[in-house]
Each structure stands twice: as C-alpha cells, then as structure tokens.
Symmetry: C2
Subunit: 427 residues, 2 copies
Amino acid sequence: MPDAATLAALEKAVDANWDKQVAWLQDLVRFPSLRGKEGPCQDWIARAFAQRGWSVDRYTLDQVAMDHLPGFSPVMDTDYAQAVQVVATVRAPEQKGRSLILQGHVDVVPEGPADMWTHPPYDPVIKDGWMNGRGAHDMKQGVSAMVFAMDALRSAGLAPAADVYVQTVTEEECTGNGALSTLARGYRADACLIPEPTANTITRSHVGVMWFRLRVRGVPVHVAHAQTGTNAILAAYGLIQAVQKLTAEINQRARAHPWFKDIADPVKFNPGVIRGGDWGSSTPAWCEVDCRIGLLPGTPLEQARQEVLDAVAGAARGDSFMANNPPEVIWNGFQADGYTLDPGSEAEQVLAGAHQAVFGTKMQARLGTGVNDTRFYGLYYGITGLCYGPAGEGAHAFDERAHLPSLKRTTLAIAAFIADWCGTRPA
Amino acid sequence: MPDAATLAALEKAVDANWDKQVAWLQDLVRFPSLRGKEGPCQDWIARAFAQRGWSVDRYTLDQVAMDHLPGFSPVMDTDYAQAVQVVATVRAPEQKGRSLILQGHVDVVPEGPADMWTHPPYDPVIKDGWMNGRGAHDMKQGVSAMVFAMDALRSAGLAPAADVYVQTVTEEECTGNGALSTLARGYRADACLIPEPTANTITRSHVGVMWFRLRVRGVPVHVAHAQTGTNAILAAYGLIQAVQKLTAEINQRARAHPWFKDIADPVKFNPGVIRGGDWGSSTPAWCEVDCRIGLLPGTPLEQARQEVLDAVAGAARGDSFMANNPPEVIWNGFQADGYTLDPGSEAEQVLAGAHQAVFGTKMQARLGTGVNDTRFYGLYYGITGLCYGPAGEGAHAFDERAHLPSLKRTTLAIAAFIADWCGTRPA
C-alpha cells in the first residue's frame, strides 16, 4: 500500500490532470479504430507518447514473425501491414524496483446499426458522468487510465524506479496477436497490468475463445424445382443447432470446473455473422457463418476444436446433401486459451493494496466469460498478468459508455500501483 | 397448321440460318446480363434489331410510369435508369392477319460460386449438342428462337401479314416490371408468345410468386454476457421456420386446387439470401433474409401477404425479444399473381397446330411452380399469353445448358406459328 503522502500527491496530480485526461479520452474515442483501421489512432498515440519524452517503438504486425509461437491465432481477410502497434519505453536509470508492462488495446468492435445509438457511436458525448462511444468503455478509458497514471507520477514529481513499457495494441477483439507481437519483439517485465473495464475487480480466471467459420455449399436450382436442390442457408442452421447442443454439453461439464462451477453456462456459443445465397428465387448455393465459442481454462484448444469438428461432422452425416458434400470448419481468428491468475502473486497483492488505499474496500475477484490479453503474459512467458480497470457499460453493445468517476479513481489506483510495484525516484 | 409448302420453306430457312443462330446465341450468352447490368446486352440486341430494318424503341424503366398498374412489383436497391428495354416493331402495311407480341427476357440470375461450374458461366461452350451458360437455357435460347423464327420467314421470302412486336425485356426474374412497362407504353396485340424453356409444352397454369425481406433487429452485447442479448440470426431462423410451417399448410390446401391438386407441394418457400451481424464476438444486432414464396392461381396477393404477415407476427409473439421489437416484412420484388391459360383459345389452337406439324406429336400442357411474364398479358390486358419454348437444363443452377436440337425444332415451330397466326405476305 502506498504511503499516505505519496497517495495524496498522486491524487492531487490526477485531479490536476483530470480535464486533460477527459479531453484526451474524447479524442481517443473519436477514432473509429475498427479492425484494420487502427492506424491513425495508433499514430496519434505514438505522437502523444513521444511528446512525453518516452522512447517509442511503432511497428506493424506484418513485421513480426510470430505464427510459430504459442497463442498465435490464424487470420484471413486482414492486412497486417495496416495493424500498427505502439510500445513506449520509460527507462529507469537504475532498476531499483520491479519492471512493469502497462498494456491496453485500441481496437473496437463494429458499432452495428447507427440508428440504434442514442448518440452517434464515435461522438464522446458526456452526460451525468458517463462518456458515450464505441470503445469508450472497452477499453479506451483503460488506456487513458494507464497513460494518465504515468502522468500523475510525473506531475507529483516522481518517476518509476524500474523500466515501464506503455503499450497500445490491436487485435485484442479477434486474435490477441497484437499482444503476442510485443512478446515476440522481446518486451518483458516483472508484471503486466491490463486495465480492461472490470469495474475494479481482478479477473481471477477467464474462459478461452475460439473463432471458426462454418462453410456450407449447396446445389442451387430454380426454386420451382426446389425438391432437387439443397438450401445452404437451412443446412447452415442445422450445423448451428449441432454446436448449440455441444455447448449445452460443455456447460453441463462446467459444473465440475474448479473456477466456473458456480457460473451459469460459462461457455457461450455465438453465431455472430452470417451471409449466404445470391438470389431470392434460387436455392442458395453457399452459406458462411462466423462463430465464436468459449472453452474452459484447462481444456486444451486441440480438444475443444475436435469437439466442434465432431459436432459438425455428426450433423452433416445426418443430412442427405452434406453427407456427400461435407461442410468446412475454418479456424479464423481467436484460438485463445483460458487463463487463471493463481491467487497469491506478489503483483496481485500490491495491486490489492493500491485498490484498498483508493477505494477503501477489499479488491474483489471476478470470473470472465470472455477473453483478455493477460493470458499471453501469464501462460506463455511467466509474467503475472493482472486484468483490472474502471467501470462502464455496454461493451460490444449500443450506447456503450464509460463511467468517468470510476475512471478517475481507477487512474489513481493504477498510479498508486505503479508507485508501489516499481518504486519511485524523483522525476 | 401451316401448309406443307410453307413449312418446308421455313424449315429450309431455319436450316440455312442455323449456324448464324448458334453464333448469335453464343454472343448473347457471353453478356453477363445480371440484374442492373443488362444494358450492354440490350444495346447489342437493339442494334441487331435495327440491322434487320425493324423499328426499335429502346427505353429504360425509369422513363415509364407504371407503379399504379396491376401487376407492378415494388423495388429497392435497384436503379431503373440502367434497366434498358427493347421493343422492335415489324409493321405490316395492311393488317390481314392477327397481330402478335413475341417477348423474351435477357436478365439472368446470379451464377453462384464459379468453381462449381464445369465451364465458366458466361462461356457458351458447345458439347454434344448442348450449349453451356448462365441464361443459355433460361431464356436466351428462347430469345434466339423468336428472332430467328422471324428471320426464317424473311429468308423464305415471307413477312407477317399483321404487326409483330419483338420485345426483349428485363426484370422477369425479380419483378416482371420489364414486361409491364411494354404494356404501360402501349404495346398491344392479338396474342403474345413467350418462348421460355418449357421443353415444347404449353404452360397451362403457373403459381404466383412473392418476394419479401424478413428484417430482424436484436440487441448486441458482448457475447460474454449473451444471456442479456438477443441473437438476430437465431431469431430470423425462428421466422423462417414459421413460414415453412405456413407453406406446408398452403400445400395441404393445394390438394383441392383445380389445377395443382396432383402436384406435390406446388407452393415453394425459399429463404434465398441471408446476411446478418458484424462481428463474431458480438451477438448479431440485425439479420435480413430475402425470401420467395409461391401462391396458387386464384389466391389474391393481398390474402397471401396477410398469411405471411400473420405467420411472422405469430412467431414474433412467441419470442421474448421480438414481441417488443417486431420484425419487419418488406415486400421487395415479385408481387406476381398466378395465371391460368384457359384451354380453348384460338392462339393456343394455332400454336398446337404448329407444334404438331413440326414435332408430329400433340402439344402437352404443363403446370408451372414458377412464374413467367405471360400473366401480365392474360390477366390485366386480355391478351392470350402463350408460354412455349425449347428444352434444356439447369435454370438458376450450375451447368445450365440449352439443348440445341430442341432449339432448332422450336425455332421452326415458332416460325410456323407466326406464319399461321399472322398470316403471310411476300417479303
């Protein structure tokens, strides 16, 4: 727990910088940093980091060899020459404390039909302490928290007494390859904090996620003779139903899982995108469904994939057309392991102390039914990965919004954590 | 039935022009005259008609006021300024016989995945008497039949003794508004022949067709919290199932229909195009399904539409989300009545005589579970609409192909019909 004087100085600094932080976050939310379009946003951040005097490494994912690494997810339809990553290094002349990675993602998920938003999705309108916007909550407010936590130290006349890497990555929402690229590029530290919007809880364990594309081919005919054709759209629904059934079985097994046994249906299956057919009066020749399914921590990806393959193959065998024209399952995107932050780590204890000092409450743990980037650090590189950040609403939904009072307190908690974990020196 | 000498002269003429007809049809098949892209094909035809000395009226659908007329179908997403229609008038100085409309459509339906074709879809490869190609069968070969039937008369030194209109239209595969536009523009005759590929049968009765779009809106959330969101893709599937159930009920009733009682399931429902969702890990906020459903001749469109609306509303009421966010049904495309060619018309008798003379068999009637353009002439303008044409395979399917020996005989049968119906004069 930080000493009272340091905490007071940091609180004063966060206060002093608050208007600037809110304006910075608004600027950040205005970038429609959808997948493949994060470049301008990352360029702007790289300049903001450089202006702070930090050493900036800006690169694109196509420059990093990483498809041999554990945790890598395959991709289609995406140009990694456009996927800009930013790592700022804040070096301490002497390593008196423990080094730290602060990491946040700037990629956002599609906003859906704009007319279902109260305010436009990239208009960071502030009302009653909430800031609107796709990505405002997940997780641009967290990015602002880690940046302005560092700023708070400096405003308080302090600097970390160990190296800190401030990283903004992409691909968190689809592969995690942005996070992986920083590790492939060699960035290491004694701990990693990712301020995803956890409402000031620590993520104890999260499920893994796999993306896959179901691809069905049918024989189109004039619908007047539809009895001789196979409708690929209806066939695809048969496959969806088979994976729904598998999901129910997995959730049945989850009742014995050490972490997820008390969570209702922790493994979610989502047919998220569908497209098929070319003409109303032709039986559709093709249908593709982009799907997401969870897996429990401890289940090997290979096993989870095999279960999906078996479910799809079983459904296809029961269909007169698909039995001879087997559908494809294409692993395209997340192949993400679940991850458990084992209780008792030094980094968690220090974070819990900072949380307690700022909020006056014990830091609670949460179980996540979605994935986050901490798995890369914890599972594959032995770096404790802490997922802890501010509160808000509507991740991936309409009217997503960040809760500014929570963000302000969280910024202070992270500043206190940095001060405690890394130690401080005069700036 | 034409006299033997005229028939012999016409047969000789069809023979003499045959190579030219096949080459012309190949040129016609090379045009990818998909909806909205028929312009170049129609321009080429207009020039081919003008070269024959015919008077050509070339216009686009946006120039014709017709949305007040019976049989008009509403359209979305289509630019009628691109929808070129061609009407060639072959005037007889004196009306000694009966006037005639020869009409064919040049629009083709999408070819689907090209890799499922043996030959490329717009490559009119000829093998063993069959010509490959999207539209080769439905119905560019019929267009060639009507044009070269007229050419045969001329080659035989004859001309029709009454006005003949040779028309190539678009929109047959989606609305019929091309055919309707010719009537709105004032073209009338004592009969109309449309050489759709009927394998030398006459279409006695055909079902009607309606197109509609099912549009579902859902509330997207992060799939980690999917229990609080509604998946629009799955909701759309519930609506599809409801219309499948309705279709089964309609087909049950069809067992009492005067024409369709012996046809198994004459009313077809086809979800033909689907699209929905934006992201694998967001519950999809929207899904649209473009559908086609038949209706029996005699069923008013209004009643058929109401049944669809009731089925969809019933399914929505049973769904906790859709009950409060009702799905939309958008009538977009075909609102086409069924049509029965009452037996005993003069025009049919003359066509049957020509068929008998050429094929040596009695002309058989067929019942159509798809729609054709004859309905406009017969139902709304009192012009007998004959649908009779050559044989082939694969309408709307892969490896569509025209059967050239059938085309040649059909061209002669149509020439004989023209000669008998219109009478002849020296060219």
